[in-house]
Symmetry: C2
Subunit: 344 residues, 2 copies
């Protein structure tokens, strides 16, 4: 957000849009993504090169500045997403994107999460060039109303939030293609914003999602927020079954996600140890289901401490051993961010 | 080409478009790219996951199938472009792209290589969503005429070949944006093809470039073809000075390239050892200039045997040592494609 504020008179912007507190270093660490990834890819795609201090004290630059290169191993893509376990990143050169000629925001409600998810899948499968598509469940929409951080009242039902970007004509095309797909999947009429102020207002529910949830904490209550990603064809199944389990366990939690990437988040509010155990079951079941669907235990948050147990299940012993061999080669004394991703 | 032939009734295609003899395994090995990279990226962007047999006999799958993941190190991007030096790739899962609603091909001539290159740079800097932009110099155009593999005669002057792809409206927008930029840089009127047959015909000069050059070999003569890439802002400078040197050495060679990626090729015909030494000087000077411009010794062909000496200059000792540490960790006996990229 700071970077884009600095860039605002240049007609360029940095397109990766994670949670508002993210910092560039952390974004490199986790290969973060966020709302714009369906169009612009993830952090890895926007890193030109990195300067890294390795465990032996040597300072390396991963590559030079051409748009593409086939000169040796892709060290940038190895460091991005390695959560600080291979070295300390001291310089980051980023690409920027030109600000699109035309932008827009659209909001559509659906009777069920499945219907909303399936509309998003259709749109991506048809390669309609949207800027972003985000899914928010009924709980999340109600949380936003309760928190009152936006200046309107939202329908408390599964909702898709779209960004549009491109030339004047192409945005018009995109909106009309999205409109007919949404209609076919039982969506409401499109609410559409064109001016910058209207766009900001219409996107505000998405922007305020996490803060709204956090603002509902009472003293002693905690929030567990986590993410998984699955192949696009399976995301409607996963969203539906996860939603059912959260409800059946009597938990107060919301689902929202970068549905166009098959990536979504559960954010669950809990209080005390008994409820924590339920949350743990709910989250672990979500991860296991994602893995059964050939997905990943984390689409953008990273492994950190909390997902280490799932990494073996996801990748298998051989692949994990290959990662550890690289770790040992570059950091034999296991000095760099020890304990993250895997143990020595 | 075989893959896209198989896919032709599915409305999907594989967008990476290297030289016509490329095979999927080699494309993974070199992180190949080709004419469509300016829009669709390189091979790395289209590999979902890989199965790799490592030097110790273990079989690993680099990742699962989600569109994005932050679960551990990015092994796919490490293997892609590693030229077989880290393991034997036995399975490759690729993404496909939907065939665009509308396509087109456009051709524009310019008085100089610099003018043509600068037009291409402007187009990419303004993020005009072209499908491809290729530069061919006057020699290459004349070679195509002499070889006679296309059914027309081309103007023998620097030429840009464009592909357009998108919705009907967006292609119209793109063509008009490209048209005004080209005009401002002194380009000719646009020759434009809309039907599939016309497009094929208009693109034929680009398609036949390499074959045309090869067909001019006489007994005993050889072709040296190589590539470099530089930051987009420097490609016009590089193209101009390389062209001058090739002419001043009296060599018969052409320049063509994926100018939108700052990536281009010299293809030089030579006969005997004296001429070979001139070619070597010409190629080495091109590489050294690319490195001075913060570019790479190879944008898509890979290091192989021929560019090993430049890798140290490009990356520095520390970065090369980091690559070698990874190599040693995964292949301690240096069994995998030994001698490529670097020596033990």
């Amino acid at each position: 957000m700071d970077l884009n504020e600095k860039l605002k008179d240049t007609r360029l912007f940095f397109p990766i849009d994670p949670g508002p507190t993210a910092r560039i270093g952390g974004m490199v660490g986790t290969n973060c993504s966020g709302t714009n990834a369906v169009r612009y890819g993830t952090m890895r795609d926007w890193v030109v090169n990195l300067t890294v201090v390795l465990a032996d004290g040597s300072i390396v630059k991963t590559r030079r500045r051409p748009r593409k290169s086939s000169a040796g191993y892709n060290l940038s893509s190895l460091i991005v997403g390695s959560e600080g376990t291979l070295g300390i990143v001291t310089e980051i050169t980023l690409k920027l994107a030109p600000v699109p000629e035309e932008t827009g925001v659209g909001v559509v409600t659906f009777p069920t999460m499945r219907a909303a998810a399936e509309a998003a899948i259709d749109i991506v499968h048809k390669a309609v060039p949207i800027g972003a598509v985000e899914i928010l469940d009924d709980v999340q929409m109600s949380v936003i109303n309760r928190a009152g951080n936006t200046d309107r009242t939202w329908q408390e039902t599964p909702t898709l939030f779209f960004k549009f970007a491109g030339s004047k004509h192409s945005v018009k095309d995109t909106v009309s293609q999205v409109g007919s797909i949404v209609k076919a999947r039982g969506g409401s009429d499109f609410e559409f914003a064109k001016t910058e102020a209207e766009q900001k207002k219409l996107w505000s529910a998405r922007k305020e999602s996490l803060w709204s949830m956090l603002s509902l904490r009472t003293s002693g209550s905690e929030v567990w927020s986590t993410d998984v990603a699955v192949p696009l064809s399976r995301v409607a199944d996963l969203v539906e079954v996860c939603k059912e389990e959260m409800d059946s366990l009597g938990l107060f939690g919301s689902m929202l996600g970068h549905i166009g990437d098959g990536n979504f988040h559960e954010t669950i509010l809990y209080d005390g140890n008994t409820e924590r155990q339920k949350v743990e079951k709910c989250v672990h079941d979500m991860v296991r289901r994602a893995l059964e669907m050939d997905g990943t235990c984390t689409g953008e948050h990273g492994v950190g401490l909390g997902k280490k147990e799932f990494l073996l299940e996801e990748l298998g012993a051989g692949t994990l051993e290959m990662m550890k061999a690289i770790k040992r080669a570059l950091d034999p004394s296991w000095l760099m961010n020890p304990g993250k991703i895997f143990d020595a």
